[in-house]
């Protein structure tokens, strides 16, 4: 499954929608995303750059806030409070991880829930997990991107055996819930699971989100399984100019021989995550507009 091409299609749709909004309601209807980064982690900077660039390409205003590593808890929360109040900011993204001395839960919980485009607020997660109730205001971007990618490739999850490897608050857990609500039979594996390979062998759909390079081996996969690889791991590679290359949580080359569909790394889930951030930001903005 080509996440790069699919994300490009989504971005095209988002760009058209942004143009329509501005056309119908004027410049105040232009969606705006604030991206806050604390410190100088190279990977975080790369992600933030990619997110801001994606915004600009589709006509979403992007507001960057680069705070020094030594920013205090209070100062960071003040920034969030200011962004909560700004009318031109519809979504607020605080790039994780935050420095050790900062309580990230307090920061994230301080984001106005209507601007929580990452969908990490516990009230959003609660609504995501529950059935038959008010849906969450936002679905977290990576799980949403995985589902969108499968949808666009016609992968039906209803009644399927799905194994999700990883139980993080931002990927494994919410993705398991999304697939459960789509009537998959979901098994959640993690670092304490005794025999993950045995679980994977029964899976029609495998989602790897454990952060271990090439954890899932070809030999674990059922013929024609669908494989979604959420991992983005940097492994040393002296042949590369930057000294490393990115690999997923799945051994792509081997797995591709067995799987019916598989996402590459890079170019799979990553671009979809960013595309969903854009759709969430547009949704946030539209909630403030009269229907038109």
């Amino acid at each position: 499954m080509d996440g790069k091409a699919t994300a490009a299609a989504v971005r095209g749709e988002v760009a058209a929608e942004v143009a329509r909004l501005v056309d119908a309601h004027g410049e105040t209807a232009r969606p705006g995303l604030a991206v806050v980064i604390v410190g100088e982690r190279k990977d975080s900077q790369t992600y933030v750059r990619a997110k801001r660039r994606a915004c600009e390409e589709v006509g979403i205003s992007s507001f960057g806030f680069e705070l020094p590593e030594e920013t205090t808890q209070e100062a960071l929360q003040d920034v969030v409070r200011e962004l909560n109040a700004r009318q031109d900011v519809h979504g607020i993204l605080v790039q994780l991880p935050l420095p050790e001395h900062i309580d990230d839960e307090k920061v994230l919980d301080g984001i106005e829930i209507g601007k929580d485009v990452d969908g990490f607020h516990p009230l959003n997660i609660g609504r995501l997990c529950m059935s038959g109730r008010t849906p969450p205001l936002f679905v977290p971007c990576t799980p949403k991107g995985c589902v969108e990618l499968m949808d666009r490739y016609g992968v039906d999850v209803e009644g399927k055996n799905v194994v999700v490897i990883g139980r993080s608050n931002i990927v494994g857990l919410p993705l398991a819930m999304l697939l459960l609500h789509r009537n998959a039979t979901v098994t959640i594996c993690h670092s304490r699971t005794r025999d993950t390979s045995a679980k994977v062998k029964e899976a029609d759909i495998v989602v790897a989100a454990c952060g271990i390079p090439k954890f899932v081996d070809k030999s674990w996969l059922k013929k024609d399984a669908v494989v979604v690889d959420v991992g983005i791991n940097a492994v040393d590679d002296p042949s590369k100019k930057r000294g490393y290359r990115l690999v997923g949580d799945v051994d792509y080359e081997g797995a591709a021989e067995v799987a019916s569909f598989i996402t590459p790394v890079p170019g799979g889930v990553g671009p979809m995550t960013i595309a969903m951030l854009l759709t969430n930001t547009v949704e946030a903005c539209k909630r403030h507009l009269p229907a038109k």
Copy 2:
């Protein structure tokens, strides 16, 4: 696993704790539970009576509100608002199901989160589902009772294969999450699962919470599996004076031959649910007291 005896032990501990609180802080520290019932469903009346009686036995004040079937949404929400404001009410329980014309989500979400002893508020569920964050103020009573019962019988869930049958907001889903956080490998089955028996055959621990009488058959169980039966189903039985008897979601007689531990119905999870309501009410009360 004898839920009746275990619940009695819990109630004894709660009674001692209530006595200690009143002794240390005076009569204002006596925990109070408000139980609201709308309409005249026989089963709901039975549950409410049992809950109120359990309160009284341990020294928790119980306040009953029996509203007629035709109570309006607004009137019911007014009752909840009044109870939110009362200092002698530490927990509020609105018995489900509510009549068709009432939006139960609105009612439940109106309960002050610090008094939501059923733990059904989406913010509570969100906190329950997330890892490494602020824990929920209350864990829903039935899942909490299942875990407490297993704990007291020394059933270790770490690394075990657990199959939860049912994905309801009030039992299956939160129980799956509790067991996941205890490092079980959790599979959630439901009405759209293609082959529940195959999943159950691999399970070290099976939780049946699907509401189908005797759904789980002996032949599905691995030798020495642990079986927790959450079902309470009334089936016709002309030999009984009241015309029915209660059976679980598991065929108890058969399953008991294979399982290492199993909960009966009645006398298993049911009494534990009520016992956990008492512990949640005491917790709610204690949060208002200075440590002593």
